[in-house]
Symmetry: C2
Subunit: 338 residues, 2 copies
DNA sequence: AACGTTACCGGAAACGTTTACAATAATTAA
DNA sequence: TTAATTATTGTAAACGTTTCCGGTAACGTT
């Protein structure tokens, strides 16, 4: 492996001259700069970013921690983030945690050791120790979700998220406006923040319309197709009066939908169904799922931009960006006649 | 930021002692080791992986370069790779290239500067310059695809891939066995290696059965749902005698399927359809796509394992792992009666 | 008692850069 | 012509570790 010293020796100049040529520093004659640059090409030299990082105290790397890159929601967020990050000369090191808190902690400390310049995180609800770690860190971090009230009181961190509550509220409202009163809820994992916010939106909307919410109308599942199938089966067995279901995400909705049709239910004739996410698959003509859209890629973009802003000006106040959702009317809900 | 020196001074020992405690080196008394470890906790010290990397000439990072993390195929490969890599103490820095060769080169050189310990790449067909770069590199790399014959003659690199040719051949064979002779082909992008291998499998199978292959039966598209719709529309307009279509991947097949049903074609009654990938969505009851399964996650796993093997023993001969596919019979193909 | 061995520790070099500073050469101003 | 400035270069310290090497102390062996 060639170093800057080899180049310097070979060309009969000093290492600082080579360094200056590489970083187009003003203090160098154009002529020598050209000479050095040519020598570098010829001698096939690659700079060592590690040595550079060490002295500059800047790694040009950003850590990205998400539950599961395989989830179409996160993969698009990751894409959005990587896009603006790499445009700004940063590399991203990523890790899947599956919301396993031990893995999350391990990941966080690895990234701290690696001295990343910033962190984009979507962790499960934080425990005491995690909050401690985060508070000790002096590198910028932005969360890909809102803070729980417990976290909010102990942490001072930027976030970008979608207004899950409003989105869920409007989805439920849509069903109510269509005349539904027996509305089931297919929930995500208990300890996903968006899951509980969406549940709250659903609950509050029912309450605001004096519709009693029943235990048996709610089942918490997970966030993939298979879990949607299972959950909807459970839901239907708990209450066969249901006229509609709000699924907390599209994967769940699609899985549930699949279960319904294979079990001879008609959608929307027997059961209305609304999802959350607006995945590309949801618009397929067989599915044509009414859902609430969230700007996945924009979330990634914004998170990255916000992080860069903080990196460039550490004195910036923590900021919370809340993106809006949009109801997409398609074919899985119908007006209830009475 | 605390350093090992601060710890040493604080505890009245030398830096080497602290270092020994951290790396549980044998040459240290258990007692002092405990003392140091406690001090480290108390003083809230985080090791600096950058400094460590510099001296050890080992970054513990692996570069992963793929076209698009949003593609369900690649996201699962990425998951599979990250899994075994992080289990072995490596972090992964990833980049999306969209098969843009300039971006690929930029990505490669960034990762070389970062001194990653290994590289997992899925590049577009290599040009002269890229091959040059690869040949100059002395870090282990494994490709997520087979080599073109041009590359093979100039490069000496490990690969893990699926037997696209055989998979495509068997898919076509399946259609032929069902009595089809007018078989359309929905291709992926021209410069994706798997795309052309699948095309070859299709072509050779036709030839082996003395079925003439027609220009008008083939349209090259891309690899997402939208492109599938467009491509199948074109295909149907070019030849309305078609009784079946082999789509080079499931996204294309699903998009095409969608176009067919919205245009009043029945699948499989009017048109038989077979895909490639076996995405989770393909097994949904509406779609129920007959397809060729490829072990996405295993590909990622194997690539990572192979890379680690090479890293641990650089003298290892380059190896090509070829995984097999499996035909999944579902509901989108029917026997042609005559 | 003298020696060799082992266990443990500290000093200092090294990794490959950047950068502050000093030094020299070239240019301008007076 | 000389002093003062500017342009260009080189020297060396620094970044935070690991690790080689030498040294001391404790121990066991003869």
């Amino acid at each position: 492996m060639k170093t800057i010293k080899d180049i310097a020796k070979e060309l009969g100049v000093s290492v600082s001259t080579v360094s200056r040529a590489l970083n187009n520093h003003p203090d160098i004659k154009d002529e020598t700069k050209q000479k050095v640059l040519e020598g570098i090409k010829k001698l096939n030299y690659t700079p060592n970013a590690i040595a550079r990082s060490l002295i500059q105290k800047k790694s040009n790397m950003i850590g990205l921690m998400i539950p599961d890159i395989t989830d179409p929601f996160f993969s698009e967020v990751a894409l959005g983030a990587e896009e603006v990050l790499s445009d700004n000369g940063f590399q991203v090191v990523y890790s899947n945690t599956f919301l396993n808190i031990e893995k999350e902690k391990y990941c966080l400390s690895s990234m701290m050791e690696r001295k990343v310049d910033g962190l984009i995180l979507k962790p499960s609800p934080l425990d005491e120790e995690f909050i401690e770690m985060l508070n000790r860190i002096d590198i910028p971090v932005v969360f890909l979700r809102g803070l729980t009230s417990y976290e909010e009181s102990r942490l001072d961190i930027s976030t970008v998220d979608v207004n899950h509550y409003r989105g869920a509220y409007s989805a439920t409202q849509y069903l109510v406006d269509l005349g539904h009163r027996e509305i089931g809820f297919l929930g995500m994992s208990k300890n996903s923040s968006e899951g509980s916010e969406r549940l709250n939106g659903y609950l509050d909307c029912l309450r605001d319309h004096d519709i009693p919410s029943k235990e048996s109308n709610i089942v918490m599942a997970g966030s993939n197709i298979e879990q949607g199938k299972i959950a909807v089966a459970k839901l239907m067995s708990q209450n066969n009066q249901l006229t509609s279901i709000f699924a907390a995400n599209d994967l769940l909705a699609i899985g549930g939908f699949d279960w319904l049709v294979t079990n001879k239910y008609q959608v929307p004739e027997d059961i209305s169904l609304i999802g959350f996410d607006n995945l590309e698959f949801s618009s397929l003509s067989w599915i044509n799922l009414t859902t609430v859209d969230q700007p996945r890629k924009t979330i990634g973009n914004q998170a990255a931009k916000l992080l860069l802003d903080i990196i460039n000006d550490k004195s910036l106040e923590p900021k919370s960006i809340l993106l809006e959702t949009k109801l997409i009317e398609r074919n899985t809900c119908r007006r209830l006649l009475n």
